[in-house]
Amino acid sequence: MSEFKSGSFIGGETCEGRVLVVDDEPDIRKVVKMTLQKAGYEVLEAENGEKAIEVINSGENRLLLDVVICDIRMPKINGAEAVAYFRNNYPHVPLIVLTGFPDTDMATSFLRQGVVDYLVKPVEGEKLRAAVARAMEQRELARL
């Protein structure tokens, strides 16, 4: 199924993969996008869990979305609910939690649900890119 790797669908430019950033703060979406675009990722945005579910269910994203980075404290469908939704409906899409509130219990519960990484803001660009790269590896394995 390697033909579904998104990189091969984006003509011309090098695309490392397609990442969805879910955060209610436009500032956060902006810097995360900035950080990941530099590493060659295509970045989509959603401002809450509800929008994120819309994005993943729309058109080619169903197949081409590689990684989701999700905040927890958000309006509408919050991060925890969104994570549960993604795990149930798109178990092959790796998830990274990026939260402003470090909470060990919550981190454990997310990791148990199969979340790839639990990152606490502020996170350095290098660390974030490393987490996304790890998530991409998982995504590749899921495609085999």
Partner: protein, 350 residues
């Protein structure tokens, strides 16, 4: 002596001692203050008595002889008055004066100190629940600052450099405002700091703080402010009242979201503040208990049960009235009414 379960107290002397006694005793249901007297018509306790609708009796003989007092509390500290009262008291009436009166005065002061301690500890207990909100509001701008700074290290476009540097400056300002709000809120209310407080500004400050304690995500906010609303009181304590009521309102809507309405009004020399939610409501049989100390519907560890008790204490102290109107599953409205504050030359720094 009448043994009706009520102590009928006559207060002689309306200086600071008499004033403090009124403030304390009028809140005790089993005590009835039958009147207060002072030679000085400008005594502070007489003004307080008028506000509390306690009879002011012009002459001491009238006060001690004709109003059914079972106890005379003499807080004049005047030896002549002591002699006079002992000679003229009705046979069934007890007298508290001299060193016993001073003892009561010390106990009253102690009580006020405890009250302030209680307020402070409830406030600090509440701040624990702010941790998630504070972390969110500090770490988000930090993420922006870090991301921009990393980018700036490599950015070659000078316009972009200027823009991003300005964004960093703004983000730092937002973050430091959080610390300013919180340190102001957590400090101990300075005693006897009654000043003119603009109500709308205090409500907005309380809203900023309440956001740390509870999630406003699915809450529609409606503000209807009367611009001139101002009351006399302690700004820190009034802030505490508003934070408490707003936090309760938002917690009541935690499950399904809803509408938070905050209104201020000025009418007939009175300032009104209404804080309404469309949340779960309070059961009718619980309403009489909500202002009691240690009453809480929250799970253990979530609430101290002192929130509304302290709110009521502060509102009483400001000569105000607090009322509640609630319907299960429809929502709750708290209505506060204060005497309109008049400029004293000492503006409240909000």
């Amino acid at each position: 002596m009448e043994r009706t379960g009520h102590t009928k107290v006559a207060i002689v002397g309306a200086g600071h001692g008499g004033h403090a006694l009124l403030d304390l005793l009028h809140r005790v249901p089993s005590i009835e203050i039958v009147g207060i007297a002072d030679r000085n018509p400008a005594a502070p306790g007489l003004q307080r008595a008028r506000e509390l609708r306690i009879p002011i009796i012009a002459e001491v003989p009238d006060l001690i002889g004709n109003h059914g007092a079972s106890l005379i509390m003499d807080v004049t500290d005047d030896p002549e008055m002591e002699t006079y009262l002992h000679a003229h008291r009705p046979p069934t009436t007890d007298i508290l004066n001299g060193s016993s009166s001073r003892l009561v005065w010390e106990l009253v002061q102690h009580e006020f100190k405890l009250e302030a301690e209680l307020l402070q500890s409830e406030k600090l207990a509440g701040i624990g629940s702010f941790a998630a909100g504070i972390a969110h509001d500090i770490n988000n701008p930090l993420q922006l600052i870090l991301g921009l700074a990393e980018n700036l290290a490599e950015e070659r476009n000078l316009t972009a450099v200027h823009e991003q540097a300005n964004e960093i400056i703004e983000a730092v300002k937002r973050t430091s405002a959080i610390c300013r709000d919180l340190t102001r809120y957590s400090r101990r209310a300075s005693p006897h700091e009654d000043v003119l407080v603009p109500v709308n500004g205090k409500l907005d400050e309380a809203l900023r703080i309440a956001r740390y304690a509870s999630s406003f995500h699915d809450i529609e906010m409606i503000k209807q402010y009367q611009p001139s609303a101002a009351v006399t009181g302690n700004p820190d304590e009034l802030l505490h009242v508003f934070v408490n009521l707003i936090t309760n309102a938002v917690h009541a809507m935690e499950q399904a979201g809803g509408r938070l309405t905050i209104e201020t009004s000025v009418l007939n020399g009175q300032v009104g503040v209404r804080i309404s939610d469309t949340g779960c409501g309070i059961a009718p049989d619980k309403i009489p208990e909500i202002f009691e100390p240690f009453f809480t519907t929250k799970s253990p560890g979530k609430g101290t049960g002192l929130g509304l008790y302290n709110v009521k204490t502060i509102v009483d102290k400001m000569h105000g009235v607090i009322a509640v109107d609630s319907q299960i599953e429809k929502g709750t409205t708290f209505i506060l009414t204060f005497p309109k504050g008049e400029p004293t030359g000492q503006e409240g720094l909000s």
